[in-house]
């Protein structure tokens, strides 16, 4: 695993057309931690991740990875810099097999590393090893989520952006996915920026939390503090 990096978003303004979705948003993800980004629909969570990974142009502010600016870089360039983004809706290429999807993650690795990295992934995710020859279209929702996270990890990212990884999954699978994210921090020391509507689940594994509302940061504190704030939970987090 590549050494984890710090991701800093400072006063970012971004949106679509004339509509500004993010209004001077600032968030810092420290190396080797999970930072949960929470908020209701329309708060700007997905736009934040898309702005970091270059799919939405920022109109102001700064995004840096270990102090190096990512602003104005193309999405593929940002990916090669070490930011792996797992988009909402999973991002599996259903026309490719499970193994071919995984090999996409290996394209950023050296040839010498590829075979061992793939074997290591199959060792960690037996379900993917069992289904390696199948088309990704045949996987269940939970299996697809594991596939896209495993694929992102194969690219040896410095920061992992996860957009609603529990969306549409059964509660038992959600617990497995959250446990997987926790292990990525604990065992691999990965920096994770986790966007979730499942605030309770996200805060249970996160070190730090940020709450967005209508494109602005309304709370920024360690996860335990946010989880203990009854008023904040009732107003913005729905639990």
């Amino acid at each position: 695993m590549t050494e984890a990096a710090a991701l800093a978003v400072t006063d970012v303004v971004a949106g679509y057309g004339s509509v500004a979705v993010l209004k001077r948003v600032s968030i810092t993800a420290r190396p080797g931690t999970i930072t949960a980004v929470l908020g209701a629909n329309g708060a700007g969570k997905t736009t934040l991740l898309r702005a970091i990974s270059g799919f939405v142009r920022t109109r102001g502010g700064q995004v840096t990875l270990d102090g190096v600016s990512l602003i104005k870089l193309a999405p593929d360039h940002i990916a090669r810099a070490g930011v792996a983004h797992v988009p909402e809706g999973q991002g599996v290429i259903t026309e490719l097999t499970v193994e071919e999807n995984l090999k996409l993650g290996l394209l950023l690795r050296t040839r010498a590393e590829r075979a061992a990295a793939l074997d290591d992934t199959y060792g960690k995710f037996a379900i993917l090893a069992d289904r390696r020859r199948r088309l990704a279209a045949t996987l269940s929702g939970g299996e697809r989520q594991i596939l896209v996270i495993a694929r992102a990890l194969l690219s040896a990212p410095r920061v992992l952006l996860l957009d609603e990884p529990s969306l549409g999954l059964a509660p038992r699978i959600v617990a497995q996915v959250l446990d997987l994210i926790r292990r990525l921090r604990d065992e691999a020391g990965l920096t994770v920026l986790l966007v979730e509507q499942n605030a309770r689940g996200a805060l249970s594994i996160a070190d730090h939390g940020v709450v967005l509302n209508l494109g602005k940061v309304v709370a920024d504190a360690d996860a335990a503090t946010l989880a203990a704030d009854v008023q904040l939970r009732q107003h913005y987090l729905g639990f």
Binding site: S53, F55, A74, P75, D76, A79, R80, A84, H85, P87, G91, V92, I93, T94, E95, L96, E100, K103, L104, G105, L107, L108, R151, S155
Partner: protein
């Protein structure tokens, strides 16, 4: 019986040429969802480059190689300079651009090379084989065999490229989901350029194979393009294998029409097949998706 064998072998040989054009269209369609109406014009232009090399004293094979290299380069340059600016715009823009390209290429060819028909050498003899007194027709000639082998070899090499190489995986990922490909660090634009370059190469191959039969002039590939397009549509437009099978079906069918019904009818029959396929099976025989807008 002799006629049937002759028409069938001739159909296979012609079908391989339609398949090559169809394959070049599929390569671009899969990657960019653009139908390149200039593909025939590009093939015509590279054939002119080949005949200039050959007439200047170069060998046929030097002309052949230069034509393929020109096709590769022409495809890449046209994508980068003319087609790329239509990315993200309404799909109709790209259609108009490729139609405009066709008119431009044919116009430039007319200005540079004139509009007279030029004969074009074949790779090998065009005399068909015989088994005793049983003549197999031009479809069994060394040139016809070369046509079939070269198109199948090109298709096989493309299949190997797509299936077993990292660059092939990049191209497929970029074709199926540009967004996911970018997330994986793939330069989607480069993959698109490469797809157009390969399509230009396959189109140039088709031009070299068909021009000995048609003569060479600025519009010489127009009807071949329509038949290649029909082959691609029969195959589903998304499927390289479908383009090959579609080309073979069309080639054999049109040879039967020519042989048994009338020699003036094949182009009309080709258009009829195109209309029928679009009416009754618009997703083709090998489409990866169930429906497609036409």
């Amino acid at each position: 019986m002799q006629e049937f064998v002759e028409f069938t072998l001739g159909g296979i040989s012609d079908g391989m040429i339609y398949a090559a054009i169809g394959l070049s269209l599929v390569l671009i369609w899969r990657g960019t969802r653009v139908l390149n109406f200039a593909q025939g014009g590009m093939a015509m232009f590279t054939s002119y480059i080949a005949i200039i090399v050959i007439n200047a004293g170069g060998s046929y094979w030097l002309g052949f190689g230069v034509a393929l290299a020109s096709g590769l380069l022409l495809g890449a340059v046209l994508e980068r300079v003319v087609v790329r600016p239509t990315t993200g715009k309404p799909p109709f823009n790209a259609v108009i651009v490729t139609l405009g390209l066709l008119i431009l290429i044919e116009g430039v060819a007319g200005i540079i090379y004139g509009s007279k028909n030029r004969s074009f050498p074949a790779a090998y003899s065009i005399v068909g084989a015989k088994i005793g007194n049983f003549a197999l027709g031009a479809g069994s000639s060394p040139t016809a065999i070369f046509t079939a082998v070269s198109v199948l070899a090109a298709a096989g090499l493309l299949a190997l490229l797509f299936r077993f190489t990292p660059v092939g995986l990049r191209m497929r990922a970029a074709a199926f989901s540009g967004t996911v490909a970018q997330l994986m660090g793939i330069r989607v634009g480069r993959m698109t350029t490469l797809g157009w370059a390969l399509a230009g190469l396959i189109g140039a191959l088709a031009g070299m194979l068909v021009t000995p039969q048609t003569f060479l002039y600025p519009n010489s590939m127009d009807s071949i393009f329509v038949l290649g397009f029909t082959a691609a549509v029969i195959g589903g437009l998304d499927s390289p294998v479908g383009a090959i099978v579609g080309g073979l079906i069309l080639g054999v069918l049109l040879n039967y029409v020519t042989g048994y019904v009338g020699s003036n009818l094949p182009e009309l029959a080709g258009l009829a097949v195109l209309v029928l396929v679009l009416m009754f099976r618009p997703s083709g025989l090998f489409a990866s998706t169930a429906t497609r807008q036409v």
